[in-house]
């Protein structure tokens, strides 16, 4: 009886604040599935920080060398793969020579698949137009060593070919021989690039990071320690828009919109319920007094 009486006392706001989380998952799932069934486009504005990275790649002259660090693994692939693909395609089309490394332990196979696929699609040859040096552990030490000479941490490339025998690498020794580094990072490797790559060796640095990390790296943009920043899937969609080629970033925007709308509605409803509950408790307190 007592339990029944307490249940009757529960008002709408009490019930809303203790709703079973599985209902939230279900509604979110429906919000994510909706754009898959009914496709639609979302207009995307382009931010200055993304435009700067695009501009850096677009200004590359044929033969100029850029280091692209694919420092993430499959856990952040959803956010970083679209921007990596867009950058690779643009840089290859500009005729730039690219050095690839990965300092994330689960990244090499994933990075290699993308590099070889995009290189084949753009007609680029390994060892001539690009080099994939592969993975080495301890990112800070590896970046410091690359600043001295790429051959110190990477005597051979990912496929076991000695770096000295790779035609593209003959005139490339360290960061002084590259136009800049674009680091696509899913963790604190981005810090190492800023601290060791930029602060110690002064190499121009552009970053592509996950949404979670983005707000931490904006101060470096203002101080000029990085020349551009691509934040998460939205940044990738902006980049694809600039490159005039739709990819996974742009494809994800309708899904992002519906899900964000649902989350916003949840937040508004929960706050209304919270305020109503607080007001009711206040009234109850006044009655008691």
């Amino acid at each position: 009886m007592a339990n029944g009486a307490r249940a009757e006392e529960r008002r709408w706001y009490d019930r809303l604040l203790v709703v079973d989380r599985r209902w939230i998952y279900l509604i979110l799932a429906l919000a994510v599935i909706l754009p898959a069934i009914v496709p639609f486009d979302v207009s995307t504005g382009i931010s200055t920080e993304v435009r700067r990275v695009y501009g850096f790649v677009d200004d590359l002259k044929p033969g100029e060398v850029v280091h692209i660090a694919i420092d993430y693994d499959p856990s952040t692939l959803a956010e970083l793969h679209p921007m990596t693909e867009a950058i690779l395609r643009q840089a290859f089309n500009r005729g730039a020579r690219l050095i690839f490394t990965t300092l994330s332990q689960f990244g090499p196979a994933m990075a290699e698949e993308m590099i070889t696929r995009v290189a084949a699609e753009t007609g680029k040859k390994r060892g001539v137009d690009y080099t994939f040096l592969g993975y080495k552990p301890y990112p800070g030490i590896t970046i410091l060593a690359m600043g001295s000479n790429y051959r110190v941490p990477f005597p051979t490339d990912y496929y076991g070919t000695p770096v000295d025998s790779i035609p593209m690498m003959r005139d490339i020794h360290n960061f002084r021989n590259v136009k800049g580094v674009i680091a696509l990072a899913g963790g604190n490797v981005a810090d190492f690039w800023i601290q060791y790559g930029n602060a110690k060796y002064g190499v121009p640095l552009g970053l592509g990071v996950t949404g979670v990390m983005a707000s931490d790296y904006y101060p470096y943009l203002q101080s000029g320690q990085i020349f551009g920043l691509i934040p998460g899937m939205k940044g990738a969609a902006e980049y694809e828009l600039l490159a005039k080629r739709q990819g996974q970033g742009s494809r994800g925007m309708p899904y992002q919109m519906t899900t964000h709308l649902v989350i916003l509605v949840f937040m508004v409803i929960t706050n209304i319920a919270y305020l109503a509950q607080r007001a009711a408790r206040k009234r109850a307190g006044e009655v008691r007094r």
């Binding site: 994510v32 899937m233 899904y255």
Partner: protein
């Protein structure tokens, strides 16, 4: 290009694994547990072999045994000393290796940390103001920075001008946290979206192949 049956089989396995992980949302279950443990096993094996090839093989075996660079014996010896931490009696010897490691990393880290996090950040925060949109943004950021710093100044009561500044500082911090939260939501949703797009494309490919 139409996918092959082999590619569809691998994608099907990925789809089953994805659904198995998502099944945890409804509650813990054996299907989820099997996939979780498989993932832990696969990643541990992958990482172990990667470390063996990139650390032991490339740094020790190739340098000493293949290329006869005998001076690599010294860092290898220091590395071996680290394993003595497993012995209660001889654990103290590993401190010599640690001393080298800490000494070198501190020497590299501290000057660069000052340059990176203090000097260059200060330089970025204090510069001439231009009379355009970028200049307005810079002024807003500078006011936000000053007010946020004043919130953490505890040597004077937060009353009067300092009180007002510290309140503005809290607001600035809240806006920062809000932006961080929004970006975090975007990041988490992106992970879900990528899987949903994968499942959708897989279903379309599979039905296209069958019918």
């Amino acid at each position: 290009m139409e996918p092959t049956w082999g590619a569809l089989a691998w994608q099907g396995l990925a789809a089953i694994v994805t659904l198995g992980i998502f099944s945890f949302l409804a509650g813990d279950n054996p299907f989820y547990k099997i996939i979780e443990r498989t993932w832990v096993g696969v990643t541990t094996g992958y990482w172990l072999m990667l470390l063996y090839h990139t650390s032991f093989h490339d740094k020790v075996w190739v340098n000493i045994v293949v290329q006869h660079k005998w001076w690599y014996i010294l860092p290898t010896f220091l590395g071996l000393l680290m394993w003595l931490r497993l012995s209660r009696k001889l654990a103290w010897i590993s401190r010599y290796a640690l001393a080298f490691y800490i000494g070198i990393s501190t020497g590299i880290y501290i000057p660069l940390a000052f340059k990176n996090f203090v000097f260059l950040q200060l330089e970025g925060a204090v510069r001439p103001i231009s009379f355009d949109a970028a200049g307005i943004n810079f002024v807003i950021a500078l006011v936000g920075l000053t007010c946020s710093l004043s919130y953490f100044f505890f040597s004077k009561p937060h009353t009067g001008i300092l009180g007002g500044m510290s309140k503005a500082g809290i607001l600035t911090l809240m806006i920062g946290f809000g932006a961080g939260f929004g970006l975090t939501v975007m990041g988490r949703v992106a992970l879900l979206v990528q899987r949903v797009i994968f499942l959708r494309d897989y279903s379309v490919n599979l039905f296209g192949k069958i019918f």
